[in-house]
Symmetry: C2
Subunit: 330 residues, 2 copies
């Protein structure tokens, strides 16, 4: 990791020019600032907390609600703060727009704004910064996105294999033998992972892993109007869904088809979003510990700043039994 | 997590009896100590660092050398100490014998000896304590063993997928098109993982993933005398090995067969054991950062003590290019 002195020497300017440029001071020209920033990124400069007046971490968020306690991102941010603030970091939450990503190089942005590390929530593979994560120098944690080969980037998620194993074990113990699976778009890394984990869990629990008993689509209506009736016709007595929102729609649609949940059909979600307690019936699901995800993301950034580079880590999954699953009909 | 008061109340004895029993004091009978220990385990008591006079962590080690700097386990223990000691923990290294495991219940052992958490190095699935890791209450990290479903147990390893990807990319860039794979016993979790990761890496890099170009056996001689000649005959110009010791033997055997490494055949290992620098030629390999593994194991135990339960995490792999790989022969 380069120091300001080294950057100054490489550019043949004074250390104070480098320092001013990196802190965005007004009395350095735009061209000089850009030159210094680019050299800093090239030389692997990162804002170490011990060199910062007020150490800061950033949480970038996109495609995910987070402002209200019932939003999925809310508790993740709370958890991140619970880790970072006692350790002396200010945490800034930044809505990640496409414009922001197009206007700035990621490393330059982080240096210029004095961030020692960043957590990303809700990124999709179409986001412009994704390409930069293969080479960035800033300690970075990506939630539910996996970038291979850059020591500065860590992937965090929950253990989907364990989650699906808990779900399938539970349904098997309730006597279900034909368990179906419904998923939204399998192009997304996370939904592909869960899909494979589900069938692996069937095999592990000695149930036939028949991919015909599954359906996926980009749009909910296709899942509900095409795949769901097909799985019911095939004799599925339980259906695991790729995520809670889909599970909730499946429950509503089952009611419309005249089926009682859980007496006629058991439905299990994934994520444990706050909504699950209030659906009819309350949705059984696999919990992602959101506060834990946030806290551990800070631990992981702090581990990187201590020279230990995690490639990825998974939190334990937890089965939450509410009222949407019951014994299989004889 | 139960307190000493709660255990005392549940058993109808005084708190000081519980305290004495849990610290192994002599003026408590063996029967009483056992009763208290069993109740403590049942109630989920663990030795929290803040309640301990001298907080302690244990590193259990078996089937792995660690006493000399050139031993594989040495740097892992150094790394663990580097994390734990500045945080105020004493670290005790305990050779894990079958007798120790047969004589003691794991949780009871940890409580009785005042350990807040344990790291296990070199365990095999045949070790008696393996069964207890599905239910134990003590924060525990297993190196290269995966136990699903217990929030108190974390698996640590390096990112084998990334490591194999780096290895295959490197050989492909050197012009190798037929890359073979040799492995020791695929029954072991870690070697099975690497085997699958190797073929996944071939596919990812657009090379044919032909399992016929691989060989595995419980014994080195079978790998060397049966599989190696077969892979050579098939036209492999490079061979990736499941671990450095095997790669070293393969190099020696190639020399005996009159082949020059790397001019005639490229050999790549995995692990980066200290020996790799001293082989002829020095072995190119994929590094497991052993100090990082040790440090992060402490971070992970400490994260568990803070209520964040990791299921598993992987450190970044790193390609180390020495002299055992070269451009493929035209």
């Amino acid at each position: 990791m380069a120091t300001m002195e080294e950057i100054a020497r490489a550019l043949g300017v004074s250390k104070s020019t480098v320092s001013k440029a990196l802190s965005g001071a007004k009395d350095v020209s735009g061209t000089m600032r850009q030159t210094v920033l680019e050299k800093a990124v090239e030389m692997g400069y990162t804002r170490l907390p011990r060199n910062a007046a007020a150490p800061k971490m950033a949480v970038f968020i996109t495609h995910m609600e987070y402002r209200q306690p019932e939003d999925f991102g809310y508790d993740i941010i709370v958890g991140f703060r619970k880790g970072a603030e006692p350790a002396g970091f200010q945490v800034q939450v930044i809505p990640l727009t496409a414009e922001l990503q197009q206007e700035h190089n990621y490393d330059e942005y982080m240096i210029l704004h004095g961030f020692s590390g960043g957590l990303f929530l809700g990124l999709s593979m179409a986001d412009p910064w994704i390409a930069q994560f293969s080479v960035c120098k800033t300690p970075t944690v990506l939630y539910d996105n996996y970038i291979s080969g850059n020591p500065n980037v860590t992937h965090v998620g929950i253990d989907n294999a364990e989650g699906m194993d808990l779900a399938v074990q539970y349904l098997k113990n309730l006597g279900h033998k034909k368990i179906g699976y419904l998923s939204i778009a399998l192009q997304a890394y996370i939904y592909r992972t869960r899909y494979h984990a589900f069938f692996e869990a069937l095999r592990k629990n000695g149930l036939p892993a028949d991919e015909a008993l599954s359906g996926s689509a980009d749009l909910f209506p296709v899942c509900l109007q095409e795949h769901l009736p097909r799985l019911l016709k095939e004799g599925c007595t339980a259906i695991v869904c790729s995520h809670d929102l889909l599970a909730h729609s499946v429950m509503v649609h089952c009611a419309e088809l005249g089926l009682r949940v859980p007496q006629d059909i058991s439905i299990l979600g994934f994520d444990d979003i706050p909504l699950c307690r209030y659906t009819t019936p309350p949705l059984s699901t696999v919990r992602q510990n959101r506060t834990g995800l946030g806290k551990s993301a800070f631990y992981s950034l702090s581990s990187q700043l201590n020279g230990v580079h995690l490639s990825s880590y998974q939190l334990h999954a937890e089965l939450i039994c509410r009222a949407s699953c019951a014994k299989a009909k004889e």
